[in-house]
Amino acid sequence: MIAVVDMGIGNLQSVLEAFRRVGAATFVTSSAEEVTRAEAVVLPGVGAFGDGMESLREKGLVEPLRRHAADGRPLFGICLGMQLLAEESEEHGRHAGLGILPGRVVRLAPTSRTCRVPNMGWCDVHPVPRPDGKLFARVPHGEAFYFAHSYHVSGARPEHVAAMIEYDGGTLAAALEHDNIFGIQFHPEKSQDAGLEVVAAFIDAVRTLPVRA
């Protein structure tokens, strides 16, 4: 079964509903023991980075999540959950992240007035072509997904960037993917058919990834 981590902030129901609609069984937990045993873990979340890390620390989930990732078991960070995978964030001060993937979380700072912060709404997502890419295997190039964020992951390794959006004349990482580690900045549970195809692709990945002992 797939564990969905409850960090005590924000709404889990729509994330659970998304998994239900693609036919995947999930359970909600904030227990270190259950996370340790889970086949795959989903780290959803909205809210501030510092609060998110604090919540994981309080529940004793930081080490179990790192171990889970290091064991090669699938880990899926959504929105804030993706940012928590990075090394650190500058949101309201400086906070260390899980450090599972290289990268820093920095504030969106557009120079153009047409780009607004938060970046709120539907952006076309451009998957980076790669032979082993899993998350975007089921959606056409340029499909729009729903974003609601003021911070983003910067400085990720190019080979980890699974998809990008255009923003303020440049690009931003919209998704990260490295072996068993997956992260998306957008909200798949709010991105309708395209979002559910990404959730379904994660489920496909869970079923096909080799299990390391």
């Binding site: 509903e17 609609r21 938060p118 709120m120 709404g121 729009a144 729903y146 964020h149 709010k190």
Partner: protein, 681 residues
């Protein structure tokens, strides 16, 4: 680059969605679940739901629907909604504390809209932003323009002036940490004149957070200037999305055609199909009434029961099958709106008829390949009038379509079959298998207390199916029943038929597939009740107009005319349950047993409906009306015997099951008898 968003905004008032006019008049649209499910079919960019209730009390006000209990508080209602809301959701209204906000986010909102609370205590915006992140905090700003041109921000749903300037206030909330601004124009609300673009532009230019414009959209072409000239990040509207088939995809199409880089139009989500699905358990549970042997005395003890009230102008009760609301003088929306209809001038009716003429020209067939339009007819006086106007006044070539529910009175039967002769038109007269009809009569009665479910769904489905199959893009209906009866619309809304209206109001949210599996009914037996798919409707741009919005509708005059000109026969025998004689000759149960069940459920019947219309038309006083209500509403009609024989159910069993439908908001038990408050008490 983020795409501009197109956002429906729904208003929730005490459990029901309402239409709003200048923030004052609230006409009941219906159950939020049905509307939001429909929006979920269409890949809607985002949804704003504003709770404009005066107190935290929510009630759908009737129990005989597939979706009847959605919760009694805003948070409970939101939780029910979030199960079917497949798009980003902003919830606003009555948010006072951080805890209020937390509860709403937890119940399924993605963002919260704050208005009055922010004005009273601006630091609340900062607190909410710190706690939940700026992307969760939408500040809603309601603006009214004074006669001297000055704009002012109002609090409490437009009721309290604040002295604040909208641009300065927008800047301030941005600095406090708001993530988005929802800008609404009070004086444009419900007016259908377009956005107040200079205001939108001024606020947008003064801030760097996203801005949603709202207020004033009356046609799809009004959206694009909000982004183009107003520079809004998103454009929203409320009323327009209620009244047209595929309203959202069609509005999107208009925006795309105007060059806005919005997301593409999408219908038919594979993950969110239009037809509801029902579990076998839910279906089996709905037969519980068959097993009931005793009255549930506790349920009808009268405890915790609200008081039924009646319109102070007509005789409509507050607990009713037709949705309505009351103003501060206790006058129902039916009276408020039917008033506006009678005030329309001759010139206005001429303008409306010209609008109809233009529409018909647009849909007229040029190459002889199809009919110009479909007219659904029962063979009643209204059918004759519609066909008279369309064929003989406006010169179109219609196809008449009739659903035969096997309940015709003899005179109704003669009338319907005379139409093809006296009008010289083609007529599809469609008769489902009588065996199926008997089953659907029984099931409709036992499941929802309405043996005529099949007729309501058949009449609103079959003609649309026939139109789609013949590739005819236009249907001409008579009058929208709820305009006249409960004032659901404004005369400027020009509502058209829609799948949502059909499923929610005619089918009571019981779609055809609900019946599959009962009494051996299979999917292929229900073909007549299957509505054309969204893609088919979209490709054909299939529309169903109500002629009553365009042509002055005066039942008494029209009846006289169709009798004299076309040999329409009136009924010679009086009905048991109403003093009128001319309606529903196509279905003996519609004015009879079906209507008696309305009395059993809600405590009133057809005589009340007719009295309300006649009081509004100035044909009788309220006291005269009350006397008729007292005489007719409770009468058990003679068609009981036919129905009992027809479906094989004894009258005793009928009574026992019917009693389980009594609404505890209306009925109570006293000394083993059914008792209710009465308008004449």
């Amino acid at each position: 680059m983020v795409r501009p968003r197109l956002i429906p905004c729904l208003l929730l008032k005490h459990g029901l969605l309402v239409r709003s006019q200048e923030f004052r008049t609230h006409q009941v649209i219906g159950n939020p679940i049905n509307t939001i499910m429909r929006l979920s079919n269409w890949s809607v960019d985002e949804l704003i739901l504003l709770d404009i209730s005066r107190e935290d009390v929510h009630d759908l006000r009737r129990d005989d629907l597939a979706v009847a209990d959605i919760g009694a508080t805003a948070v409970e209602v939101l939780r029910s909604i979030s199960r079917v809301c497949f798009m980003p959701l902003t919830f606003g209204g009555r948010i006072r504390t951080v805890e209020d906000m937390r509860l709403r986010l937890e119940a399924g909102a993605d963002k919260c809209a704050i208005n009055t609370r922010a004005l009273d205590e601006p630091s609340f915006v900062a607190e909410a932003s710190r706690r939940f992140g700026a992307q969760c905090v939408v500040v809603s700003i309601d603006v009214k323009r004074h006669l001297d041109g000055r704009c002012e921000v109002f609090a409490e749903g437009g009721r309290r002036a604040t002295g604040r300037d909208p641009v300065a206030w927008a800047r301030e909330v941005e600095a406090l940490g708001a993530g988005e601004i929802f800008l609404n124009s009070i004086d444009r609300d419900g007016g259908a004149r377009g956005y107040k673009l200079d205001l939108v532009r001024a606020v947008s230019d003064a801030t760097t957070i996203p801005l949603i414009a709202c207020g004033g959209v009356g046609k799809y072409e009004h959206f694009a200037p909000g982004v183009r000239e107003g520079r809004a990040s998103a454009v929203a509207a409320a009323n327009i999305f209620h009244f047209f088939e595929l309203s959202y995809p069609m509005a999107k199409k208009a925006c795309l055609e105007a060059g806005l880089p919005m997301r593409a139009v999408k219908v038919n989500s594979p993950y969110f199909p239009r037809e509801p699905s029902y579990s076998d358990e839910q279906k089996q549970r709905s037969l519980w009434r068959l097993e009931v042997r005793e009255v549930d005395e506790e349920k009808y003890s009268g405890k915790g029961r609200g008081k039924v009230r009646w319109c102070t102008s007509c005789v409509y009760p507050s607990i009713s099958a037709a949705p309505l609301d009351f103003d501060e003088n206790g006058v129902c929306t039916g009276c408020q709106v039917s008033g506006t209809k009678h005030w329309l001038t001759r010139e206005e009716w001429e303008r409306r008829t010209d609008l109809l003429r233009d529409l018909l020209e647009k849909y007229r067939c040029r190459d002889g390949s199809r009919y110009d339009c479909v007219i659904p007819v029962s063979g009643g006086k209204d059918s004759y009038f519609q066909t008279h106007v369309i064929k003989n006044v406006l010169g179109l070539n219609p196809l008449l379509v009739t659903y035969n529910g096997n309940n015709y009175l003899d005179v109704g039967w003669r009338n319907v079959h005379r139409m093809k002769e006296v009008f010289g038109v083609d007529h599809v007269f469609y008769s489902p298998s009588v065996d199926l009809l008997k089953k659907l009569n029984r099931l409709g009665f036992v499941i929802m207390g309405d043996m005529n479910w099949h007729a309501h769904v058949g009449i609103t489905t079959l003609p649309v199916r026939v139109a789609a199959q013949f590739k005819v893009p236009l249907l001409i209906w008579g009058e929208h029943g709820y305009l006249d009866l409960s004032g659901q619309f404004s005369m400027d809304d020009f509502p058209e038929m829609s799948y949502r209206d059909r499923l929610e109001h005619f089918a009571r949210a019981y779609e055809w597939n609900y019946m599959v599996g009962f009494e051996g009914i299979r999917s292929q037996d229900m073909i007549v009740y299957k509505y054309p798919g969204d893609q088919e409707l979209y490709d054909l741009d299939l529309r169903g107009l109500y002629i009553g919005n365009y042509v002055y509708w005066e039942a008494n005059e029209h009846t006289k005319m169709v009798m004299e000109t076309y040999g329409f026969e009136g009924n010679t025998e009086p009905f048991d349950r109403t003093y009128r004689t001319m309606s529903n000759l196509d279905d003996m149960h519609e004015n009879g047993l079906h209507d008696y069940l309305k009395y059993v459920k809600f405590g009133y019947g057809r005589a009340t409906d007719h009295v309300c219309k006649d009081i509004r038309a100035g044909l009788m006083t309220r006291d005269e009306g009350v006397a008729l209500v007292r005489k007719y509403d409770h009468v058990k009609p003679r068609d009981m015997a036919r129905w009992s024989r027809y479906v094989g159910m004894s009258e005793a069993e009928f009574d026992r099951i019917a009693d389980t439908f009594r609404d505890p908001r209306v009925w109570r038990r006293e000394h083993g008898q059914w008792v209710k408050d009465n308008i004449w008490d």
